[in-house]
Symmetry: C2
Subunit: 354 residues, 2 copies
Amino acid sequence: MIENKNQSRTSLEQLGEFGLIDHLTANFPTQQESTIKAIGDDAAVLSFDKDEKTVISTDLLVEGVHFDLAYSPLKHLGYKAVVVNLSDICAMNATPTQITVSIAVSNRFTLEALEELYEGIKLACNYYKVDLIGGDTTSSQTGLIISVTAVGKAKKEDLVYRNGAKDNNLLVVSGDIGGAYMGLQVLEREKQVFLVNPNNQPDLDTYDYIIERQLKPEARTDIKQLLKDLDIKPTAMIDISDGLSSEIMHLCTQSEVGCNLYEDKLPLDPQFISTCEEFNIDSTTMAINGGEDYELLFTISMEDFEKVKANPNLSIIGHTTPKDEGIHLITRANTKIPLKARGWNHLSNESGEN
Amino acid sequence: MIENKNQSRTSLEQLGEFGLIDHLTANFPTQQESTIKAIGDDAAVLSFDKDEKTVISTDLLVEGVHFDLAYSPLKHLGYKAVVVNLSDICAMNATPTQITVSIAVSNRFTLEALEELYEGIKLACNYYKVDLIGGDTTSSQTGLIISVTAVGKAKKEDLVYRNGAKDNNLLVVSGDIGGAYMGLQVLEREKQVFLVNPNNQPDLDTYDYIIERQLKPEARTDIKQLLKDLDIKPTAMIDISDGLSSEIMHLCTQSEVGCNLYEDKLPLDPQFISTCEEFNIDSTTMAINGGEDYELLFTISMEDFEKVKANPNLSIIGHTTPKDEGIHLITRANTKIPLKARGWNHLSNESGEN
């Protein structure tokens, strides 16, 4: 939206086959001790300490499905593509260390556009101290596809899976939720306004927080250390990128427990609430079904209540129950309704990951 | 070409968001001891022995760029998508152990079509004893995109990089070359015939070997053991998926050596030669510039000549020289011409990987 329109345009054909990936990845120095060989050979070589396990996750981002270049600046997109994957590593209570990035691009993209994308990837690599160790560039017939694989490390005793929640655990979420989805609604609305009147300059200051949640989210790499400092080991953990509701159901199903989620405990940002009011939509529905909040959901023992209750980064939003009690939302009016995982259906052209 | 047209057709929408990936990956038991957690959490968890390094490579295959479903059966395609990545692990003299597979599909694909694809992936996993440990399914606006990341292991002392070749090393290639590219030419020709006359039944028996080289290649996972048995450690190694010529140039450039490649030493299959004659094209040009032969190119010390010379799996095709002598092809007529890396230019809509 606020890109420089006078940029130079170099077509990708001008660079030739191997020139492109070499050019794009030229300024990615490695920072992790575990990176023995990064880009430049048939494969990367990593070396972890003997007490460290290797953690791997992968995601595919497709233009027109996961992002819209009408309002996603390429630099932000590059940054977000990395963050999305690091979040999965964090959800294992592991530390991200390396990524590979492959892209397929149609020839409507210029070299300068891809440089923007890689600028964002580089920013994320620097911020999170992860090394770019490999990748592939190829052509696509339409649009841009980004495939990222993230690698991380964790000691065996630190790893947290989805299936470890016990009955009567506390359900905790980091940060606040729903913002990314409402940020997307604002951006979609502005896009429609722009299509009608291209001279309209949108004033998005009122929505800065939720737009940033959508366009430049962060991965909660800090939570592992925070939990360690609090002397807490979660019993189960998952990231909530597909929406709180569906991720609660995954965690409970895999752990074979039920759960009560309390509407009045959901951590909502004031800007998210006011935007829901402006759009005249129910904030709870958006908060539990919107996706792309790269926050972590986890369960902890009831004994850890005191350690967590006053922490500004963490909110206790419910508790687990025996499996046969089911999975419910307890509303502000104290009615109990079954939670439904609406998530985002990626097969009906919305976003979603596994 | 010989697919059953009476298959049932289940649309992807019928399965819902999480049903699809669960369904497709339901029958992938793990076989590797190093796989601690495969599919089913935010990330996979691997555990390698303390003296083993982790090796990682990734590739993106795009419909219309890397494959044409008019003549690539989906089962073969799934198999090949795995093989392509395992080959990169082999090129480090490492042993492949795990893969992740992500796909983006448009809704013209049915569930049954994706089951075929995963059947091929499973065949490859079983044959090469690698575990499917993760992935992602999403929608695409056009066509099929497959992203595979392969993980492998190797002891530090076994790893071979591209940059270790010394002056006066022997240049060795496994198997034979050019077949995959000529197989593709035959398939392209038959596709054109089919478009003109859909009732024409092609007789492809004469081309069985080169078509198999194209549609169902194998990764040379056997070479690591073969070299160990021969008591040889290569000084440098690379896979020749982008064409012998360009890979020789990569190896020589990174190793800072020159090279003489001998035309009369190129290992060519009789079927490849006869097909080149039929198409009236020069077999040497095809052999050194055609791609997708998932063979390994490596350099060894001159002292290892006796160990290699009679091995039916290996061909000595030249030797390295000081860097300033350049990279040349010595023709049958004993003329010396500079080697050019034509490779496959993926930005002009042909295949290529890095």
